[in-house]
């Protein structure tokens, strides 16, 4: 009988008076992919921090690969036990090459301590090839797309425990939301690799929001709710609904398609002619008032760049746009005057300002209305704006004057969407509105956008969450290679159609796998 890769026994952890974890026991066996599901605030991240030695449990024990974790512990000693983490922000150095990022700390040296670059390059090339990655080891990480970076991060986590783990190839890899930025195609490739490595005897703990992932890719699944483990089962006995019920604690239906809306008689609010820039190549389309247009495709197909270009966050190379019949040269300052609002998918850099307060972030675009005599900002006015946004969009917090960083990811996203909806724009442009947020927040966001459209607003959003695209959109433009490959509307808007048109001619091979 081999030792468990991870054995959590009866762990309890409280912060102040709040119990974050109550008597949690969890085992990850070598060779299995074990998914850990849970809402934001379910204790998922606390558990990971306890395993990482960042928090000391109040009671209970943790063993990894048979070694008891003692507190305080260091990252280094965990490494010696054959544990590797990949956190959401991956932690790659952008200015260094893939090779350097992967091999730093374990470069082989020869005589006079020189680095054997050719050997290293071969090792890394082989590693990358085994993951189906067609990139040169010398590519700087800064040139990689977000999802390629995730892949490299996972590759690195694996090599840390598997390649030279030497001690009988046992190890534990903990992946915290590895797919947050990944489209379907990348997910499949990534999980293919994860399974392959698990098959070599490494235990994988996969922390995720996405209920489909354990169903498709994991062997076992555990669910945390309110700090307690409510299930730890073989995946085979579960389906989407049963997992959702465990996570949320009540039965939820998958967000359902609203009844088809007839928008043919509405006027066109925005029309785009031969827009080019970044990877986009002569894209033309128009959108009506009250319409929800989904933009999708495989990673890098160009759909994610369209809202960015339309808003003028970067200057398009060519083409013309008109809004409400008037020509519009994309530029963020002008865009606002034309009634456009943009919520970036890059939430860390271009979302809210984390160090500023929640209130300041929420009122930013609507500050005009709080300007009083002598241009003095009336704080009472500001407070009432904040209050109405927080209430309307059901954002939980203890004080609006705390930093924005104290909000959970889902609440941040709701606050950012809410603040723009609050200044009633004509057109809402969004990138990945539901990526990386928990299922509750994601349903709230979908409801907010629908409500906005029902009131006559136009929504244009890019997303690779195909199910969300299908359930939210009146019409979907599917991109391939910077061009619109398909336009789906009405009854054609289904997840299956979106996926198959994303893959284009490969559709039969792609959907079977």
């Amino acid at each position: 009988m081999t030792k468990s890769a991870l054995a959590v026994e009866d762990v309890t952890k409280t912060f102040g008076g709040t119990a974050a974890l109550t008597n949690v026991s969890l085992r990850v066996e070598p060779g299995e992919v074990h998914a850990l599901l849970g809402h934001n605030g379910s204790g998922k991240s606390t558990l990971i921090k306890v395993i990482a030695g960042y928090h000391r449990p109040d009671s209970g024990t943790i063993e990894v690969n048979g070694h008891a974790v003692r507190y305080p512990t260091s990252a280094l000693s965990l490494k010696d036990f054959g544990v590797s983490f990949m956190h959401q922000d991956i932690g790659l150095v952008p200015t260094l090459s893939i090779l350097e990022n992967l091999r730093i700390g374990r470069l082989q040296t020869g005589a006079m301590r020189h680095i054997r670059w050719s050997n290293e390059r071969k090792t890394v090339s082989r590693l990358l090839a085994s993951f189906g990655l067609d990139v040169s080891p010398d590519t700087p990480v800064s040139r990689l797309s977000a999802s390629e970076r995730s892949v490299i991060g996972v590759v690195r986590a694996f090599q840390d425990v598997s390649a030279e783990g030497s001690s009988g190839d046992q190890g534990l890899v903990i992946l915290d939301e590895p797919t947050a930025a990944l489209p379907e195609e990348e997910k499949k490739r990534l999980f293919g690799v994860i399974k392959q490595v698990a098959a070599r005897g490494v235990g994988v703990l996969l922390v995720t929001h996405h209920l489909e992932e354990p169903l498709q890719f994991a062997d076992r699944v555990s669910v945390l709710r309110d700090g307690r483990l409510v299930a730890s089962d073989d995946v085979s006995i579960h389906d989407y609904e049963s997992l959702a019920e465990l996570v949320v604690g009540r039965s939820v239906e998958k967000s359902v398609k609203v009844s088809e809306r007839n928008l043919a008689d509405r006027e066109e609010i925005i029309s785009v002619n031969n827009l080019s820039g970044l990877v986009l190549d002569s894209v033309s389309f128009s959108v009506r008032r009250g319409e929800i247009l989904g933009l999708t495709g495989l990673m890098g197909a160009g759909h994610e760049e369209l809202p960015f270009l339309l808003y003028g966050a970067q200057k398009p190379n060519d083409g013309s746009v008109s809004v409400g019949g008037k020509p519009f040269v994309p530029d963020p300052v002008r865009a606002r005057r034309h009634g456009l609002a943009f919520i970036s998918g890059d939430r860390i850099r271009a979302g809210g300002v984390l160090s500023a307060s929640i209130a300041e972030n929420v009122t930013l675009p609507v500050l005009d209305s709080a300007v009083g005599k002598l241009r003095w900002l009336r704080s009472r006015q500001e407070d009432s704006i904040v209050q109405s946004v927080l209430k309307e969009f059901r954002i939980k917090l203890s004080s609006p004057h705390l930093p924005f960083s104290t909000l959970s990811g889902g609440s941040q996203q709701k606050a950012l969407i809410g603040r723009w909806v609050g200044c009633s724009p004509n057109i809402l442009l969004l990138q990945e509105p539901t990526a990386g947020v928990d299922i509750g927040a994601s349903q709230d966001i979908i409801a907010i956008l629908r409500e906005f459209a029902n009131k006559g607003g136009t929504v244009i959003f890019s997303s690779e969450q195909y199910e969300d695209v299908a359930s939210l959109s009146d019409r979907v433009l599917v991109f391939r290679g910077g061009k619109i490959a398909a336009s789906l509307s009405g009854a054609e808007v289904t997840t299956e159609n979106i996926v198959s048109s994303s893959y284009g001619k490969f559709q039969t091979a792609g959907t079977g796998a």
């Binding site: 998922k44 991240s45 280094l76 850099r349 271009a350 900002l377 209050q387 909000l407």
Partner: protein, 353 residues
Amino acid sequence: MISLNKDSKKDRGKPKPNSAVSLGGGVGEEFHGTVPSSRSMAMSSPKEFFRHYTVVFALIITIIVFGILRPKTFLALSDIKTILTGQAALFALALTLTVALGAGEIDLSVGGVLGFSSVLIAYLSSVKGMSVEFSLLISFVVILAVAAVNSYLIVKVQVNGLITTLAMGTILDGLSQAVSNSSTIGNIPSRILKIMQGRFLGIGLPFWYAVMVGIVIWYVLHHMQSGRFLYFTGEGREAARLAGIRVDRIRTTSLFVSAIGAWFAGFILVGQTGAAQAGTGDPYLLPAYAATFLGAATIKPGRFNPLGTFVAVLLLAVGTTGLQLFGLTDWVTNVFDGAILIVAIGLATLVGR
């Protein structure tokens, strides 16, 4: 190894404001139905209160300590008036620098600008015999040109601002030597002396000018939309740009403000000392930074704020004066200012946690 500390990715080397609830997972989140409208929420606990007023307490403690050790000399009212008057140039410089730092711009040329403007004013009015108005106007325009070059390079061409302004400061130091012929220019017209050597409530007028500048800055930064936009530009430039804020304009303006502040500080020095020479600005650079960074750790922790800067300049001034009363000479000032800058940055980091 990848850090699991969620806070680490948010920290981009800048001081963070109060993160009393740091469990990003939402364990500490509680919905109250209605939002508490009081701004004091963030300062409800005594610990929070102390965090906001660390530097104020330090100032009070410093005064008490020196007051006990040297009761006669230190607590004499005239001494406090002398301190305030003597630090007027630093007040003006540090307060305007707060604006540039708030917008995320580090302007190291302010020392050079200060020195050059004082030499230029003295040279034009004394050596060249121009009228006071004309001397001030010309020096002002020259400094505007300097600010224009700084901001063109930093904002438009996107050159590293730290290096650009460091180089600009050195250029201006050289020009000051050229203009003054490396000697002291005296014989300053009495009208300039009058503007700067008058007193109100026993304190030199330059201090009051600086206070007025401070009030304007406080009003704009804390109570106007432009101030909010400025802080957002400094703390999240891309996010601010995508929210439709004209970040380039704000950055440019902030660099003009710091240059004009330095020009004014130079003007103050000429008037107070009745003379000008090259290199007078350099000793002001470090204290100005020490004060702004120390100020960012208090009143509104995590943000460069004028009130904090004001208190911090006072602490610097009281501290050095006190030490000098013990017979310690000039070198003390440098050691003290340098130490304060390090403490300030350390404090800002700790307070931000």
